[in-house]
Every structure is written in C-alpha cells, then in structure tokens.
C-alpha cells in the first residue's frame, strides 16, 4: 500500500491512472486545475496523452473522441466549465460512449467565488444536457480517499454502462489535504473493493440494442466494424433516423439500462438510524462529514438524531428514505437542491427541512441546535439570513 498525504485533486489523478485512463483533455479552472496539472505530468509516464483544450466544449469532445477510438478518457472542471460540457455530454450519453467527468463544485452562479466550496450542480448533474430521455449516473465523494475510490468506480461504471459518469466533488474535497492510500497488491485492491473494466470493442452489426442490458461493448472506431455513432437518434446499426419507433427504443435503453441496474450503482452511508431517530440529517459531499460529527454530538446530548450520506446521488436512492422522521437536508447552497429530492422521496407525514450554507461548511453545533429545534417542534431560524444586519 502506498501511503501519501495529498489533495483530492491528486487522488483523482492517481485514480484515473490506476483505472487505465490514457487521455485527459481539460481547461484550467479553479478548484480543479491541479487535476489537469497532475495529469499532464502523470499521463506521459504511463503512455497516455494530455491535451490542453481551447475550451471545455473542446475538452470533453476531445476526451470522447479518444474514447471513441478506444482510449479511456477523463476531464475535470468546475461549474462554469461543467455547463459548457452540456453539448458533448449529451453526445456521449446518446452515442453511449464511456468517459469520466469530474466536477469540483465551487460557489456560483457563474464564476462566483472560485476557491470556496459550493453544491450548485446537484440538478445540473442529473440533467447535464438537453433533450431528456436519459438517466445520469453521478458519484459524490466526501474525502480524499473516497475521491480516489469513486473515480476508479466511475471508470468502471462508464465502461459497463457505456456512458459518461460524473464525479461530483466540491472544493473542500479537491483542494483538501488528507491521507491517501493507494493499493498496490491484488489483495489490497480487492480489500478496497476496486474494480477495473477493460475496454471492449463492439463488432456490430447491432451497435444500439433496444434493451436495458449493460456490458454491451461500445462503438470503437478504427477497427473497420462498419460502426456508426452520431448525435442523431440511431437505429440498431447506428443509422440516423427520424422514426419515432427508433427514438422510443433508444430512450428505453438510455433510461432503463440505468434504472434496471441501480443496485450496481447505488451507494450510501447511514449514521445511527437503528432506533428510528426523530431527526435525520441528509447530505452528500463535504457537508456530510459535518453531519457525521453532528449526529455523534447530538447523540452525546441525548438527542435521537441520525444521518444519511449519499455516495451515489443519481439515480436518486429513494429507497433509503423509508423512515418517517423530520429530515434536514444540509447543503452548500442557499436555494435548496437536494432537499427537493428528499421531499419527493420521504414517506407521507414526514417533515423535510433545509439548512443551506455556501462558501463554507456549517458548524457541528449549528446542526445539533437545528436538530434540537426540530425535535422541540419549533421552526428553524434562518441562520445567516439576517438582512437587517447587512
């Protein structure tokens, strides 16, 4: 086992190398720039290629182009670049091309605050492109170690589902320094649960089956398979078509290959839920670490508080929210994004509340106080929203 003290950006880089990534095309952006820098150093060492793109549109297109030729590829960005991915992301979803996309979320909208954490792309990562008729897969690490493991997982899922996978991190995860363990032996790799899928080649003639099956090899160009992939609705052979029947089949595949294989994707963590707590915190990414501490602190004070931490956020794991309780969604934004999905997923009769911060994490004691307030049946104070004081 290699033991390092490094950033999430370094962890993501090493994970990509571990997973067999051979192409990175990116555009510098805080707080993901270090991934590009690290890849420019690491990729040539392992026979791969680093390309600095003219913009994020080109960055993801270059990655997809490489993947289309059989190279495992990754790009990384933050919110302002993630929105520019909309065009190529949709292309890769529709043509079913594996690629990994890292988004180190910062404060928005637009350029916002560059070096501070935010969680503004919860829904954008669900709908990273236009047009609908697809499901997305998004993984959200909350530590340097998990940034490593989920990036490896993203490469694995990208191959099996043949689609782009987003690793939705945030600035604290990518810029933060922590211990990073990189497995070296087969036993260490297995113990960490890491899986690597090799690129398969689809030899046709059916490139776009109208089924929900995974592990269908993707189109790989350059092998004279007669393959075709495009931004148009494909027939099974990849011909562009205007026929609604083919669109129906294509949409079925893009939606149900994910929905019907959710058990492979779904990951979450539960804190102290055994005794049907009164209040359940919900979070993903770096706020979930505050939540974990807050659950512990609240329990020490005798409050029946638990927590749910989402590791995979899309497809949304509705099944985790089967308990009736007072839920509190803790997020790094003020508009409330995750909270809306929680509202949708909880059983009837449950209350759902929201605690937002942006640019900084909430404090443990604030969460404990919020839990106490909810248990006492009082309304939550609009913390940090005191307009008179501004």
């Amino acid at each position: 086992m290699k033991r390092l003290f490094d950033t999430g950006n370094a962890a993501i880089t090493e994970a990509a190398i571990f997973a067999g990534c051979k192409l990175f095309a990116g555009y510098p952006i805080t707080p993901a720039t270090e991934i590009a820098e690290n890849m420019s150093r690491r990729l040539p060492q392992v026979g791969g290629f680093y390309v600095q793109a003219e913009d994020e549109l080109a960055a993801l297109h270059i990655c997809i182009g490489g993947s289309l030729g059989g190279l495992k590829a990754m790009t990384s960005t933050s919110g302002p670049g993630y929105i520019l991915f909309a065009d190529p992301y949709g292309w890769a979803l529709g043509s079913e091309i594996p690629v990994v996309v890292v988004n180190a979320q910062r404060v928005g909208p637009v350029s916002g605050i560059t070096g501070a954490p935010g969680q503004g792309e919860f829904y954008l990562s669900r709908y990273p492109t236009h047009g609908g008729n697809f499901e997305s897969i998004v993984l959200a690490p909350n530590s340097v170690q998990e940034a490593f493991q989920l990036t490896v997982e993203a490469f694995y899922l990208a191959e099996r589902f043949r689609m782009p996978i987003t690793v939705l991190a945030d600035q604290i995860v990518t810029d933060g320094w922590e211990t990073l363990l990189i497995p070296e032996t087969e036993a260490e790799i297995q113990a960490m649960g890491l899986k690597v899928a090799l690129r398969q080649i689809n030899y046709g003639p059916e490139f776009y089956p109208a089924t929900d099956e995974i592990d269908v090899p993707p189109v790989v160009l350059g092998h004279n398979t007669g393959a075709a992939c495009s931004d148009w609705t494909p027939t099974a052979e990849g011909f562009d078509t205007e026929e609604v029947e083919w669109q129906h089949k294509h949409a079925y595949r893009l939606i149900y290959k994910v929905r019907n294989n959710r058990s492979i994707i779904s990951q979450y963590e539960e804190f102290a839920l055994e005794d049907e707590p009164d209040v359940i915190f919900v979070a993903y990414g770096s706020p979930s670490r505050v939540v974990k501490s807050a659950v512990q602190a609240a329990r020490e004070q005798g409050l029946k508080v638990g927590g749910i931490r989402l590791v995979s956020i899309w497809p949304f794991p509705d099944e985790v929210f089967h308990r009736s309780a007072k839920y509190l969604s803790v997020e790094l934004n003020y508009d409330g994004q995750l909270v809306r999905e929680v509202q949708r997923a909880v059983p009837k009769g449950s209350e759902v509340h929201f605690l937002g911060r942006c640019g900084e994490l909430p404090k443990v004691l604030e969460l404990v106080e919020a839990a106490r307030t909810l248990i006492n049946g009082q309304p939550l104070k609009a913390i940090k929203w005191e307009r008179e004081a501004w």
């Binding site: 092998h223 931004d231 562009d240």
Partner: protein, 278 residues
Amino acid sequence: MDYLAEKFLKARKIPSTACSGCGLGQVHKKVLLAIDDLGLESADIVWGTGIGCAGRQTFNTWKGDNFAGTHGRVYALATGLRLALKPEQKMILTVGDGDAFGIGLLHLLHAVRRNVDMTVIVADNFGYQSTGGQYGYTTPSGAVTDSSPYGMHDPNWVQDGRDILDILKSAGAGFLARHTSVEGHNAVESIKQAIRYKGFSLVHIIYPCVTNFFGKALGSRKPVDAYRWLKARTNPKQQDIQGITFTTGIYYQSTSERQEFSEQLRGFTERVQKRCQS
C-alpha cells in the same frame, strides 16, 4: 448505384434524401474518386461528419467506420480520435460551411494549430439550407435569403479582401484548396493531395443548393440554372470574371513539413517514459 457507390458506400443511404439537383453528391463523388485513385479501402479511412445538409447526407454512408459530431465540434472529436487511430489510418470529415466557418471555427483553427492529421472537406452551399435557407459566412454579398430578405449585409468570410483560407493558412494549415462541385479531375487531384498530406488539410468545395439558396437568390428552382450560375463563376484559370467568382485550384501547399499532432504527442510520451525508466 454506380460503381463508386457500390464499392465504398452503404446501400441504405444511397440515393440520399438530398433534394433533386443538390450538388452535395457531386462533392461526395469527388472524394470517393480521390480515395479510389489512391487505392484506399474502407479499413483505411474513418469518416466523420458535421451537422446540416453536408453532415447528415454523408453520415454513415462510408462502408467503414463513421461518426457525426455535434454542430461545429467534430474537429475536437477528431482531435481526440486521432490519438487512438493508427498513424496510417486517414480521417476524412465532410462538413458544411456553417459547421466549419461559423459555429466550429474556433475548434477548426485549433485543429489547424495542432496540425491534427485530418482532411476536412467543407461542402459549401452558401448558408444554412437544411433549416430553410438562412445566410451564412460564405453567402455572396447582397444575396436574398430567409434571414437577409433585403440582401446579405453581414460581412462574409470570402469577399472584400477577406478569405477564410488565408486565415487557415496563417494558422498553419499545410494544404488548402478551393473548388466547385461542377469541376472534374482537377478537383479530384486536389482532394487526393489533401488526403495524402500528413497533417491538417482542407478542401473548400462550393456546391449548389437548388431548393433554398438558388430558389431565392436566382428566383429559380431549376437545377440546371444553378449549375450554369456556378459553372460561369468557377474560375480555375484566374480569368477576369465580373461579380463573385471562385478561383479554384490549390490555394496553399506548405513546402516544409510540420510535425503532426499525434506523432508529436506519441514521441513526447515515449521520451518521458524513457526518461522515467532511466
């Protein structure tokens, strides 16, 4: 299907759904003639296309491997793909004027700057014809289109002392040519040289859109009228022709070799690997 289509194209896409008299097939045929002359086969070429008439009608016609990029970004896709293909495999992209000189110009320029080995065939029908006929960046000045009902007033890339090929040349393109679809062997020869060129090459080929462009600009949807208009302005011998004219032939051919993108990157990677091992 003629012998060329029989040899190189997928039967399902031929005849295309292009309008009667659409000159795109003339462009397509010249590319196939060049490929045939060079003795290349389906395994030797990966064929990419853009969006619009030129992209849609040529997409997945090639018996080998095909891809169609999003509008204007196929050059970036091709840049990534180039790194994965064998160096001897050719990439041919058939795209439209809007794709190359409008929405995709940034990516096209960067593909030129990097000298990515690809042959871009810009099939130019004077604007956005698959959306009904709006002006583009090569629409002749003064032409009436759906979005220039009082005559094309927006400066284009090809008149008044501007030439898009000049910009591409300055950016570092190694082989550039311009032709019209009504030409014959001379155009095929240029395409052959473009395909043979190791690095970025582009052939700009003007072709008639009978239904939309000429329907409005000439007031006639008779294909032969469009054909005659283009023929009269096709100018391989640099004659003094009044009004808009298309000087055809090789526009620029570099005499010095510039290292190709993927070769350069492969070499770089090899050097770094060696250095790390030693």
